[in-house]
């Protein structure tokens, strides 16, 4: 029958906890890289010059219309083969699985976050930009000093929900052999011939972190409500 001690003590617990920590780490590192990239892409999409706007749109569409799993396969199996030999060798000596996973997750998450940032910025009336420019501020200075502080309140809640998606998406890194939570759950399953306990552990872990992220979003929306003009 159901035996929680199987995954709450001993070597199986250590494997699962290590997996959970790696999943959290993947999400955190990805977030650190994806946010600035997303801001950059969002700015490209709103740039005054048409080729820049087109470049931003191409990035978002090209990334979002391909499943994350295909991104992972490409960055793990495909991309390293294109590199010069010495660089490739150094990469294979290191933790190439985790690096590929972070690259795929970063590019994927940034495409979604860029769209959230862009729609947050567009919610600010255009007269704000015009007022900033007419005060003598440049395009970037207006964005930084006038638009961003207002857009933040609108943008943060959807960004938190993208972080929730990112948290769930880390599970896909299992296909390229990153030892995260899902991978370890499957390992414990095949070693112990018990599927219920490791999967229950993984499910509850995913749920708890998701609940935390959802709670954070609710708190933010209450603490910093959107101001209407």
């Amino acid at each position: 029958m159901f035996d929680p001690s199987l995954v709450l003590s001993g070597p199986y617990r250590d494997l699962l906890v290590a997996g959970l920590l790696l999943s959290l780490e993947l999400a955190a590192i990805t977030l650190v890289f994806a946010l600035p990239l997303a801001i950059g892409v969002a700015l490209l999409r709103m740039a005054p010059a048409r080729p820049l706007r087109w470049l931003g749109a191409a990035y978002v569409e090209a990334i979002r219309n391909v499943p994350l799993l295909a991104h992972m396969l490409f960055w793990y199996f495909g991309a390293p083969e294109l590199l010069p030999e010495p660089l490739k060798r150094r990469l294979y000596e290191g933790n190439i699985e985790a690096i590929s996973a972070v690259i795929a997750l970063t590019l994927y998450t940034a495409a979604y976050m860029a769209e959230d940032i862009r729609s947050g910025m567009r919610a600010i009336p255009p007269v704000q930009m015009e007022a900033g420019r007419s005060l003598g501020l440049g395009f970037l200075a207006t964005v930084r000093l006038v638009l961003l502080p207002q857009a933040l309140r609108i943008t943060v809640p959807p960004l938190i929900s993208q972080t929730l998606n990112l948290w769930k998406n880390t599970s896909i890194a299992t296909v390229i052999g990153v030892g995260e939570l899902m991978y370890q759950a499957a390992q414990v399953e095949s070693a112990s011939f018990r599927s219920f306990e490791p999967f229950a552990f993984a499910t509850l872990s995913y749920l708890s972190v998701s609940l935390l992220i959802t709670g954070l979003a609710a708190w933010y929306q209450q603490r910093y409500p959107v101001r209407h003009f």
């Binding site: 569409e61 090209a62 979002r64 219309n65 391909v66 499943p67 994350l68 799993l69 295909a70 991104h71 396969l73 490409f74 199996f77 495909g78 991309a79 083969e81 294109l82 929730l164 769930k168 998406n169 880390t170 599970s171 896909i172 299992t174 296909v175 899902m182 759950a185 499957a186 399953e189 599927s195 999967f199 993984a202 499910t203 995913y206 749920l207 998701s210 609940l211 959802t214």
Partner: protein, 232 residues
């Protein structure tokens, strides 16, 4: 690249069919269409249950929807893969496993689309219908849903795009959909992994981009001609 497509193009599109089971891009499309079709009634039921005036129905369904949405799809696939045989008593194939996982997962997401669609109508519609003497269910069927479903159409097409992308997880349980076939091709060719996976990505892109443009066009058209102007 040209050589790759000449040699493996048919395999990529349909798998081993007609000499074996259907696979490849055709299986990806079949699986996602079937999953969305079966998830629709489930999503409708769950979404309406979340808005139900009866607490005994609303609370457990809300908890279920929240749980599924807070879990990775891969987790649901694993539960289906190992749980279905234990529940049903016989080993189900990869296609059935993936289909069940997708229907449950998409059902929870569609439930939120349905809920948003109904709530987007505003309270007045339900109150007016009830004031005319219709019961809650009658009001849903003849007043609320015909309007809400129209608003939901673009979201449904977007959900189809998501479903196509989600079928790629069939790769993990060895279902011969297009990602799995691509990795099979990669193993056989061995020297061109970047080209093979770019080809895979490009195929998904063409499919999903076209569909998402279609959703965008529908949304645009819907905004220009409000649903209330033409009684459904």
């Amino acid at each position: 690249m040209r050589e790759l497509i000449d040699t493996y193009g048919v395999y990529f599109l349909v798998g081993q069919y007609p000499n074996g089971p259907l696979g490849g891009l055709a299986l990806t499309l079949l699986l996602s269409a079937l999953a969305l079709l079966l998830a629709l009634p489930l999503g409708l039921a769950l979404g309406l249950a979340r808005l139900s005036p009866w607490r005994a129905l609303r609370w457990p369904v809300s908890a279920f929807v929240f749980t599924v949405r807070a879990t990775p799809l891969l987790m649901v696939v694993f539960w289906a893969y190992f749980g279905l045989p234990a529940l049903t008593g016989y080993k189900s194939g990869q296609f059935a496993t993936m289909l069940v996982a997708l229907v449950v997962f998409d059902g929870a997401y569609l439930a939120e689309i349905v809920r948003a669609g109904v709530q987007g109508l505003g309270r007045g519609q339900m109150e007016a219908a009830r004031a005319l003497g219709l019961s809650h269910l009658q009001a849903l069927r003849s007043v609320i849903l015909p309007q809400a479903l129209r608003h939901m159409l673009p979201s449904l097409v977007n959900q189809f795009v998501s479903t196509i992308k989600e079928t790629s997880l069939g790769y993990i349980i060895g279902l011969s959909e297009v990602s799995f076939i691509a990795s099979q091709i990669n193993t056989q060719v061995f020297t061109k992994p970047a080209q093979v996976y770019l080809w895979l990505g490009f195929s998904y892109f063409v499919l999903c981009f076209a569909l998402s443009r279609f959703a965008y066009w529908m949304q645009d058209r819907g905004q220009r001609r409000p649903a209330t102007a033409t009684p459904a």
